[in-house]
Symmetry: C2
Subunit: 773 residues, 2 copies
């Protein structure tokens, strides 16, 4: 893979916490015979040669382990049984709110998109009808191109200029968040607003995108906002839910939000829960899951209810999700045993096509990272894609001779007659001249014979490349629906061809059924989700009969696809060099022990430490540690000292800000009593050390860390194998594991990056380099 | 609660590992100011006064943490990437086999039960028809009673005399197994055989039981058997899957087996996966879940396929589960918004009735533990219940005047005309004179007006008490179907009454829909399962529309029910005094630290220890430790020594058996090289120490533990709070956590019982006593 310069689009601007990387070794020229990474740290070029074998030091971790310091324990001990029950009730209330708001947002998006797309299609349709006879259809094309580009321009400008993190579906970002990685600004109110408007513009602009993926991100942002009881952006603090102002609690709510998003997108509450669990949670807790399910249910119910009002059928509840696959009747569409091998073959095709899609998109994304990183270029690319999409669609419709009689039952929303006879419509237009959701539905449910094989083949081909080009643009939009659409098209094509093969004349292969299987295969081949996708598809079809074939298809697609490249989300995570921790340590990593993977030597602090020392350590931009073991007595030599706790950068910052100093000179304790509330108020945007002024006098003061440090950090001996450290780290959602020798003295620190560095390459275990990209 | 003497029915006979409890403190009159438990240990009466505040020391734990000793690491390091892939493939094969065999067993049970019950009902029906006109129906009653009792007698004898652990549904036992508790003989082949025959007899015997619960246990046994590649009972070792011969791997397969069982029982593959996760797994692993799902899918598919052959409709696949709720058409049975409060009210009723059921069953079980513990008494009780069930049913049918016209569409299986006019049948007989599965289906789907309200009311009342009396008998049978049946009956009653209330005359409340809601409410009120039950009900109805109301109903039922008593399974687990670990530590347990909960002082071993010392420690029946910290040098004083590893009783036993001694006298190392295989061959039935002969010469030898001990056990400092220890323990599935001081010296050991002792009582945190029951 060619080395290219890289600019990270998720956080292209300076971040408030950009200074703080994970705790990394002090660069004191230690005798440790390793660390080419240290060299890359030392140089620290702004844009370094980028290849895939890098891991960024830029991303902070989240702390999913409670910091059980004295303050926390005191609070917990003060709380009665009743207060815990109240907390539990507020958790339920928050989840209900998350579900309600997510459903409401989904409903809003749906209505606005339908309206905007409706205006556009109406205008173009009228124009086409006007010019079909008279000639001059190029005017219609221009109108269509202009309308599309205009919508997309708006959507792209707000994303590229105001909030780049709102681009794409947001699923990789939420995966990272739940994995424990802090992606800057990913759960902010501003991101949500941009996301919502962006997705409306890009879908209405006729791009080959869906509005479902972004719902997951939106739900997560809603969750992160509601659960904190305040908005830092709007500077409003409602003084509620203060207990939830820490990473652990926030993660649980964000899981619920993501689930609510999936639920609203596909009308799949169970699928939503499984999505959250599959992508995020490592520790399964019954009550948490039940709450997540509650949020999901409320979300789909809210959407359903408000859409039913909008459609003037109050109380009918027939729109559980943004995409509606329509009713699959189990009796007419039952599958037979001999179809199972066919399904498996289609799964393999899906896997192959998915791998191709991912490979192409991977190359494209590398190109974009290198050349298309200026916002104006990004906007122009998005507009170009919009124009090309319209042009290609128009050309395809124009040259298509597939005329079908206008069916009274299945009234097309915008049937284009074009050059067809009266009472007929152009069938290519059903696929292209429509929102993708409607196209999917018509591929699933239209009568056999509605589409010519040529139409479907051409459509698959063009849409495949359009969708591939579109994903990764600076617009907020998802890849679910285009994948389904591509799959449904070639699936239906398979069904038609199979039907023609059979000599009996009776169409035994219902094309709609094969469209469904193809859609599952294609989506599975691209995103490689497993259980949750099966359930989502099952719920979206409202039919459990297809569970078994869909599972087979998804499994085949995953196996075949994984043989070539990773899933699309994983590719994008990798391209950002995010230190993502997978489920298990690489299989052959038993060779490594904590001694080899840990960062060492470690910057330690004394239990009672001089303020000046702390400020200096925190200000040292070349290391920017985040967690500091607290020891009994720091030794000047390289001798390790005995561990007695662990304290975080954020805690030290709050202590410095509140001047919690012991003035030794006056020989009395003036250490201000800090409350847990002070830490919670500062969460999650702790100020940088530079903004805190510490006078020369204050530098001479001492700071007693006893009360604030976590006195019982998790530790491992040096001989612990990597998989064992990994399991501890992953199961408990840790941020730091202290490595101690057999006398409980600190010899190293293992952080997320130390573990994420090792991965299975083609030739066995590989080690990624760390870089300050 | 009155103190009663207690005999544990799960393992009423001496167990091969009965000697070995968890590592508990040495009774050397330590200065620790606690431990009333130590007194109860010292006395050790065979049958001690039983109350609910006891925790049994009898149950061993399973070890869900890999023992990463040198042998293990060497093996892992020798393995190539390819071997890991082969392992992965064999895991999939095992899961496929588990699913297939579980489905086959379910299919066998279904066919045999239908046949046996069919013979019985045919015989009784003919007899009744013969005597209806002529008089002398008492002969029919006697025939019915005799047939029922005969079936039940057989089922009860095999359970009570040959394998008491096969009694009941087995769900509490599997919950315990997945939680990490070793219930003796629970996953043996013999148990499976007895279970299958037992459930056939009890269902055919007309008891108020279902055959669904036992499927879960059956699936688990199949999994535990298949995954080990051998049968200890049959003394066959196929020399395959030897890698899987440890607790961690076995647990994963048992999860898959339980899921496959649920899947076959209800045709609910997703529900099965969720059941396994909800009840068992604490660490969620994507690949594992996917494998579990595979097993579930194969299971329901196998059942479906073979049943379709049996019903001579090969390939039609319309029987995904043992119970078939029939098709709920979403259009005719859609719910309206104003029905939601009604559903919630029904959930509350379900919670109340469930709590009543559980309370009564709790009292009854206490009575049984005290008085009905001899096998012959148990058989007699079972036969009595069978006779009473038949008599009550007959009486109800006899005195019921609810005659309905014989419908051509819904042909009843065994319509009883009795005193009805020609072309009519007795509607009470539909409910009573039928297998419970059919009764449930007819309550869901029969036309409105099929049942009189009085019929339903009477049926609910009698069946409620019959089912309550039946659960806990020494027969193998489940409580799912009776619960559904009770709920469906009163739910349908609610529907009818609501229909009559409405003035319009039009029946707006479809009784079938209300029957479904009632069934969910009643089942939820009894078993208190949450997410998994929602999904199981959704899948069993084949309809996702009801997801939201079912969730609401289950939630209400759980909240209302939990206010009074626990769920039925938890009650039975508690009555067995099993040290079950819940999801989280009790909320108000931050007061406690590792120092207070740990067992201390601990029996430690030297790294190179005298064989005689080891034999003496293992033979000490008054302590029967299971895990021994290995230290650098055991001190004679009470001074703690430095930790360097942890070794298990089972490992020491294998070492002793293979005479892995260093003969110091001859001053050369003759320590035999042991392989991991030797440990695997001995797993899981390690011989007791008494069976190993160690000569006086050998007692003087030394044993080097370095290679076999786990050199990196998880440790916590003394100040760690209970919730933190709990989290570590639960998330990683540990068996022992070593408590060390700040110099890494062993000061105590925390085991499952030390954590399970603390639970939330009515007046805050309570501590259970430990007892050797």
């Amino acid at each position: 893979m060619a080395n290219i310069t890289k600019k990270v689009s998720w956080s292209s601007r300076a971040d408030e916490s950009g200074l703080a990387g994970e705790a990394t070794p002090l660069l004191n020229g230690s005798e440790q015979p390793r660390h080419s990474r240290q060299e890359s740290l030392r140089g620290r070029p702004k844009e370094i040669p980028h290849n895939e074998k890098l891991l960024s030091l830029k991303y902070e971790s989240l702390d999913y382990d409670n910091i059980e310091n004295q303050l926390f324990l005191e609070e917990e001990r003060r709380m009665s049984h009743m207060s815990f029950r109240c907390l539990e009730i507020s958790r339920w209330i928050v989840c209900g709110l998350i579900g309600f708001l997510t459903g409401l947002i989904a409903c809003g998006i749906d209505i606005v998109v339908e309206k905007l797309a409706g205006y556009k299609y109406e205008a173009v349709k009228e124009n086409i009808e006007k010019y079909t006879e008279a000639g001059g259809l190029s005017i219609s094309l221009v109108l269509w191109v202009v309308l599309n580009s205009a919508y997309v321009m708006v959507g792209s400008i707000i994303v590229a200029f105001f909030e780049p993190v709102a681009a794409g579906s947001g699923i990789p970002q939420i995966k990272c968040f739940l994995n424990g990685i802090k992606i800057p600004r990913v759960v902010r109110l501003k991101t949500l607003v941009i996301k919502v408007f962006g997705v409306i513009c890009s879908v209405a602009g006729g791009l080959a995108v869906g509005k479902e993926g972004p719902m997951i991100h939106s739900g997560a942002v809603v969750a992160a906002g509601v659960s904190q009881g305040r908005s830092t952006s709007l500077k409003r603090d409602f003084k509620i839910f203060e207990y939830f102002r820490r990473d652990t609690e926030k993660r649980d709510f964000v899981s619920a939000g993501a689930a609510a998003g999936v639920s609203a997108a596909f009308g799949a509450p169970v699928g939503g829960v499984l999505f959250s669990l599959e992508e995020g949670a490592s520790f399964w807790n019954q009550m948490l899951t039940w709450r997540i399910f509650f949020a999901s249910m409320i979300s789909t119910f809210t959407l359903n209810f408000f859409l039913s009002i909008h459609h003037k059928k109050t109380g009918e509840l027939s729109n559980p999700g943004l995409i509606n696959f329509g009713t699959f009747d189990s009796e007419t569409m039952a599958y037979n045993l001999y179809e199972v091998p066919l399904f498996i073959a289609m799964g393999a095709i899906g896997g192959l096509l998915g791998a191709l899609f991912n490979f192409l998109n991977n190359c494209l994304t590398m190109f974009r990272i290198r050349y298309v990183h200026r916002p104006c270029l990004q906007v122009m690319e998005a507009m170009l894609v919009a124009a090309v999409t319209a042009t290609v669609s128009f050309t395809m419709i124009y040259f298509c001779n597939d005329c079908q009689p206008l069916d009274k039952d299945h009234t097309e929303e915008y049937p284009l007659q074009l050059f067809c006879a009266d009472g007929q419509y152009n069938s290519m237009a059903t696929a292209f001249f429509n929102t993708p959701e409607r196209s999917v539905r018509s591929l699933f449910h239209n009568q056999p014979g509605t589409y010519n094989p040529q139409t479907l083949g051409l459509f698959t081909l063009t849409y495949f490349f359009l969708a591939c080009w579109t994903y990764g643009l600076a617009v907020s939009a998802g890849v679910f629906i285009p994948s389904l659409l591509i799959g449904a098209a070639w699936g239906r094509l398979c069904g038609i061809l199979l039907g023609q093969l059979s000599s009996t004349g009776k169409i035994w292969a219902d094309p709609g059924k094969y469209a469904l299987i193809g859609a599952a295969a294609q989506l599975g081949g691209i995103v490689r989700m497993t259980l949750s996708l099966t359930v989502i598809m099952m719920e979206a079809t409202g039919n459990v009969t297809y569970g078994f074939p869909i599972m087979l298809v998804l499994m085949t697609a995953k196996i075949v696809g994984d043989y070539f490249v990773e899933g699309l989300y994983d590719i994008h995570i990798k391209l950002q060099s995010v230190p993502f921790l997978h489920w298990e340590a690489p299989a052959t990593s038993h060779w490594l022990t904590a001694r080899e993977v840990m960062s060492s030597p470690v910057t330690c602090l004394n239990r009672i430490e001089k303020v000046g020392t702390i400020v200096d350590i925190l200000s040292n931009t070349s290391t920017s540690h985040n967690g500091f073991p607290v020891v009994v007595q720091v030794t000047d030599s390289d001798e390790p000292a005995k561990l007695c706790g662990l304290i975080l950068r954020s805690q030290l910052i709050v202590l410095l800000k509140h001047k919690v100093f012991v003035e030794l000179a006056r020989s009395r304790l003036t250490q201000r009593k800090l409350q847990l509330k002070d830490f919670r108020d500062a969460y999650p945007r702790f100020p940088p050390i530079q903004s805190i002024h510490v006078s020369q006098d204050e530098r001479e003061c001492m700071m007693d860390l006893t009360e604030f440090m976590n006195p019982t950090p998790y530790t491992v001996p040096q001989e612990t194998s990597l998989p064992r450290v990994f399991k501890l780290f992953r199961a408990l959602g840790l941020r730091h594991v202290v490595v101690v020798n057999d006398e409980n003295k600190v010899v190293g620190l293992v952080t997320r990056k130390d573990l994420a560095r090792y991965h299975m390459g083609k030739h066995g275990l590989e080690e990624l380099q760390l870089a300050q990209t």
